[in-house]
Symmetry: C2
Subunit: 301 residues, 2 copies
Amino acid sequence: MTALPQVVRRSPDRAVETYAEGKPYDLFFLDTAGVRLVGRKTEASYPGPDRDGRPAERLKCTLIEPHMLLGVVEREQVAEDHVAVFHRPLGEEERTALFAAATADPMTDLYYPYAQLGHRVRETDTGGWEVTDESARELDHAEEVLRDYVPDRLAELGFRGGVAYDAACSTGAFLHAVGRRFPGTRTIGQDLSPDMVARARTRLDEAHCGDSIRPAIPEGSADLVVCRHLNAFVVGTDQAHDLLAAAASRCRDGGHVVLLGHTPILISSQWCEMTGLTPVQRSGATPSGHALFQCYVLRKG
Amino acid sequence: MTALPQVVRRSPDRAVETYAEGKPYDLFFLDTAGVRLVGRKTEASYPGPDRDGRPAERLKCTLIEPHMLLGVVEREQVAEDHVAVFHRPLGEEERTALFAAATADPMTDLYYPYAQLGHRVRETDTGGWEVTDESARELDHAEEVLRDYVPDRLAELGFRGGVAYDAACSTGAFLHAVGRRFPGTRTIGQDLSPDMVARARTRLDEAHCGDSIRPAIPEGSADLVVCRHLNAFVVGTDQAHDLLAAAASRCRDGGHVVLLGHTPILISSQWCEMTGLTPVQRSGATPSGHALFQCYVLRKG
């Protein structure tokens, strides 16, 4: 199953996580260069070495770094109370080389197959967040890497502005960054939380309060649809699929749909493909290539 | 992840099974010829086309046939209440060719990664089976393919007889078949059920009543240890690992340990390797190659 004969001859090891601790969420798979790797998410350098003069924090966040890679997957076992992923361990140099291959290929599939095992409170169970100035700042900070990356990447992929809709816009900072990069773009946000909508109104052209299962804009009216809410700890898996369908219906044919977030995306790129959304990319990398993160860019039709 | 470019270009599909129905048990993976396949177990032709003059039944059993193969796996998603395996579907000819490659390679890894999701009654919860003549005949019948296969295969792999211990010997028919193939072998069975032990005594040199966590024979005293009980619906995953350690301790260095059964084996071959049991084979095929089944042959030390 791998092009790394020296790794296959090594003694196997296993990564184990129990449901009780909700930890299968930390196990990620990375398909790159023809091999399937397993890793365990730990703290990353955030926002990372690309920011001169700003000290990097150590955060468990959306970023994956090479030291988190464990080995080449052979098989897994999803048991009554735990997951075990059997693998052949990687050495330091192999980690570095495979990670470089992963960051060089935007179709690298980074995914969390066990994100929803175990018991976690979903944020929307409370009917939307209450927001303080501090929590809003934290949210915006946690999304900084994505906010820096996506607008330029969309330009590379041919997006030229138009109507941009964010189905769960939060403080509006993300969509605002898109608007700044593409002048003349009409930015339309929607959020479940009145507090969030009040904040987003100061930054966006429109901000609507409501559940994103009922999008605030007409079908086929957006050139860009941003989904930052189809993620673990935000919604459930079935709900994520329903919300994707609702959001994608608002995108025009030929337009772009973007899936991202702090926590694992609960939709596979294959599901997107099955529903008429062609993956153009699945993961992004920081400018220096120090870290990798999930970021689906999909073309409708 | 695959050497089948025409398959990768196909539209993806997904195999979904819910925990409520206990069906993830039916999903199997097959690693062969450098590709990872997913399939769904349905009824097979049993004992199969190799038995002249005996009509084959259609049974959901230990046998995997080519028509059960679905596609080349891309990724999976283990969600709150279901498993989805995304794959690129195989055509008829590809199924046939990949299945032929799988049956030709005894190291083909056939496994059931989700065997223990969902809720199933374990047979040992009742403290051992009550056995009727009819249920004993059914048990023996369901194991016919394995009983025919294993002794000859052990001979090919260098086993020459000696002390053969079956940690959960049931009616004793399996170990009896081993004894017949290797004259002079001392056959020693153990079972939790007094009914089973009474039946086994008529066929084996010794049959002991007791939990196989406390094997009836001394450490390192067996040339062959047979484990037919480390399987789904018989024990739990943790219990299976404890019972393997107990049974394997009775095998001498250089001896053989065999894992098999009607239902999925709850031990990975990688775990065996991690605990000093080197896999010599992982799956077997019927003489005509019409079907494949799990059958680990391990060499101790």
